[in-house]
């Protein structure tokens, strides 16, 4: 399997922080760097420009691994990449979808009607006519895209990545919401206790620490986590023996939160199936719809830091007002039960104010929330998604890293290529001899 992946080139990476040069703004520098990247990609893919036209059936003769010569028509069928790499390849803004033209302020909602797909020929024409308006309206960068010169539809080479979109994307968000929700209802310590004592199971590595004490989780840990999250979350909310009773207003929230976690984890688990049927795809659609129906239970935890700070300040002001009201209320000779009732009402009022503050400024408009809506279409078109996961590409980086380690680190690139080519050639030869 590993030998089926052949590196074509080592791409230069533009620096993340650009120097400020007078008369050469940072935006222009970024655009030029992107243009250089596309020139390189164009150069690498140039052999495909002439031969990958299936209709002409021209093709080129190639020596196959069984040493027979065949007429081949090489085609660019897919590009396995995470979201930010897709952004570079497709030359679009980072808050845009590489497949469709969904507006960024609608990413958080599940649209009933799917958005129109990206029409790159239109963008190519707009670029050549310097029609910046069309490019800007679709979030396309003003560069000569390398993919426009290959006979493909660029949106068709996008393969949604389970590793980055689901495991390191949505699941990380979900864990953040779950942690904050448990903290809000006072069950975070119990959750940590349950989490760190989960029993081992074949295919599930034991988690020895509480989730919040783990600094960084990799794909394997997140996949593990998906298997147990719902049960641990439900157990933490159900526990009664050593915890105070939950407030009635929290019970409804807990019910909705469990449903939300259930739908998203089931969606993620099902997206990892190796085999799909129509019913599983329909189930995935249902899970996604239900997740969107219940996700507002976590909306307050999506608030930005500024909104959280503002909410904190507002609640502090309100509490001060309330404390004055309560101190002035006592001399009026009210009974203790009435005083307690008033205190409770004021506390509820404060909570409502904070809730309103947090939910007003919050939304779910981030790209991965939108990208999961394309999963079912991708499965229908291209088959199960684990085969397109970037985990395979990441594993293929290892021989290149080994080759760098074996070099003398001076002008390392030719040495890396030479070492890698030799090792790969030998392993291929061994495979052929085994057969």
């Amino acid at each position: 399997m590993m030998n089926a992946w052949i590196p074509l080139a080592l791409l230069p990476i533009p620096p993340k922080r650009l120097d400020k040069i007078s008369g050469y703004p940072v935006d222009a520098q970024e655009l030029d760097a992107l243009q250089v990247t596309h020139e390189i990609i164009s150069s690498i893919l140039s052999p495909l420009c002439n031969v990958s036209d299936v209709t002409s059936q021209s093709g080129i003769e190639m020596v196959c691994c069984d040493e027979k010569v065949r007429n081949c028509i090489p085609m660019l069928c897919g590009w396995l990449a995470d979201h930010m790499e897709n952004i570079i390849i497709h030359g679009i803004s980072s808050n845009r979808c590489p497949i469709c033209i969904a507006p960024p302020d609608q990413f958080g909602e599940l649209s009933n009607a799917s958005y129109a797909i990206r029409l790159h020929p239109t963008y190519a024409a707009a670029f050549h006519h310097s029609d910046i308006h069309i490019l800007n309206s679709h979030g396309v960068k003003n560069i000569n895209n390398a993919l426009w010169h290959i006979p493909i539809e660029p949106h068709e080479i996008v393969r949604l990545d389970i590793l980055h979109v689901l495991l390191l994307g949505m699941l990380v968000h979900l864990m953040k919401w779950v942690q904050e929700f448990l903290d809000h209802v006072g069950r975070l310590t119990i959750f940590d206790h349950i989490w760190s004592r989960l029993l081992p199971f074949p295919g599930f590595s034991r988690l020895n620490k509480a989730y919040r004490s783990v600094r960084q989780c990799q794909g394997k840990e997140m996949r593990n986590l998906c298997y147990v999250l719902l049960a641990a979350f439900a157990a933490a909310l159900s526990r009664t023996s050593d915890t105070p009773a939950m407030a009635s207003r929290h019970k409804v929230l807990c019910h909705n939160a469990i449903l939300c976690v259930q739908y998203l984890t089931d969606f993620i688990l099902m997206a990892q199936y190796q085999v799909h049927t129509h019913s599983t795809i329909e189930s995935m659609k249902d899970y996604l719809r239900d997740f969107h129906a219940y996700k507002d239970v976590f909306l307050r935890f999506q608030a930005s830091k500024a909104v959280k700070a503002a909410a904190k300040e507002a609640s502090r002001d309100l509490r001060e007002d309330h404390s004055q009201l309560l101190t002035s209320d006592k001399p009026q000779g009210k009974t203790s039960s009435k005083h307690r009732k008033l205190t409770q009402e004021l506390r509820l009022e404060t909570e409502e104010l904070v809730h309103d503050f947090l939910t007003t400024g919050a939304n779910y408009n981030f790209p991965k929330m939108h990208l999961i809506s394309h999963f079912t279409d991708q499965i229908s078109k291209y088959g199960s998604l684990p085969q397109y996961s970037t985990e395979i590409c990441k594993a293929s980086h290892k021989p290149l890293k080994d080759a760098y380690r074996r070099s003398n680190h001076l002008n390392a690139i030719p040495q890396i290529i030479r070492t890698y080519t030799r090792v790969h050639g030998f392993s291929m030869r061994e495979k052929n001899l085994e057969q």
Partner: protein, 234 residues
């Protein structure tokens, strides 16, 4: 999950009432016979005073009911030397039918597993017809149980041996089918001790404690196989 995706292996997705797929199992990790050599020493070592009586009950119910002199045969078998083990290896077929997943279920008793902790794993035990209808209905006829002891009782006269296990069977709490917002079956007290045949074990169970030693959630999302087994027919 609303739908079950069916595996390529038909036999593990039989309809209700049909025979389950026979999993192959193997006892491993024999415990030194200096410590455990018969049922009495087993009881003492594992601090399980009911093993002997439960073994007799099992033998009477399952093996010697048709014998001419069951009392004699039982006393002979009960006092026979036995072998105790700390691991049961169960081969569970993979979902895509490309081999088996090996479940190593452990019961280390008073010993530590890899010098770290005592292990007494949760396993699924197949319910027989004699059990109550609720157990039959829940979890596709299987009940989670804590594995306490694994032992092999040789019958030298019949030239065979019985592979048995002492387990603590949990009870289904509330709805026997996946229920509640999380869609998970709850199990817990009361616990019943039983001696069962090793062949009745169907791999590991993954339980998440709600109130430890009282209430557990049966994690049905731990793998696709468990999901399908639990939801088969429910």
């Amino acid at each position: 999950m609303r739908e079950i995706i069916h595996s390529t292996r038909d036999s593990i997705h039989l309809s209700k009432g049909s025979q389950p797929y026979q999993r192959s199992s193997k006892l491993q990790g024999r415990i030194s016979m200096h410590h455990i050599y018969d049922l009495r020493s087993l009881e003492a070592e594992y601090q399980l005073p009911s093993v002997r009586s439960l073994t007799m009950t099992y033998l009477v119910d399952n093996l010697y009911s048709a014998s001419n002199n069951p009392a004699f045969e039982l006393s002979r078998l009960i006092s026979a030397p036995l072998e105790a083990f700390n691991t049961l290896q169960v081969a569970v077929p993979t979902f895509n039918d490309d081999g088996d997943t090996i479940h190593h279920t452990r019961c280390t008793g008073p010993e530590l597993f890899r010098k770290r902790e005592q292990r007494s794993d949760w396993v699924f035990v197949r319910c027989r017809k004699a059990r109550k209808a609720k157990s039959q209905e829940a979890l596709d006829g299987r009940v989670p149980a804590r594995l306490n002891v694994l032992f092999k009782l040789p019958d030298l006269h019949a030239n065979t041996s019985y592979h048995l296990a002492h387990v603590l069977l949990l009870s289904i709490i509330g709805c026997p089918t996946p229920d509640g917002p999380e869609g998970i079956v709850r199990v817990g007290l009361p616990i019943r001790s039983h001696v069962v045949a090793v062949a009745d074990k169907e791999g590991m169970a993954h339980l998440v404690p709600v109130n430890p030693e009282e209430l557990y959630l049966v994690n049905n999302r731990i793998d696709v196989h468990t999901w399908n087994d639990i939801h088969n027919g429910n």
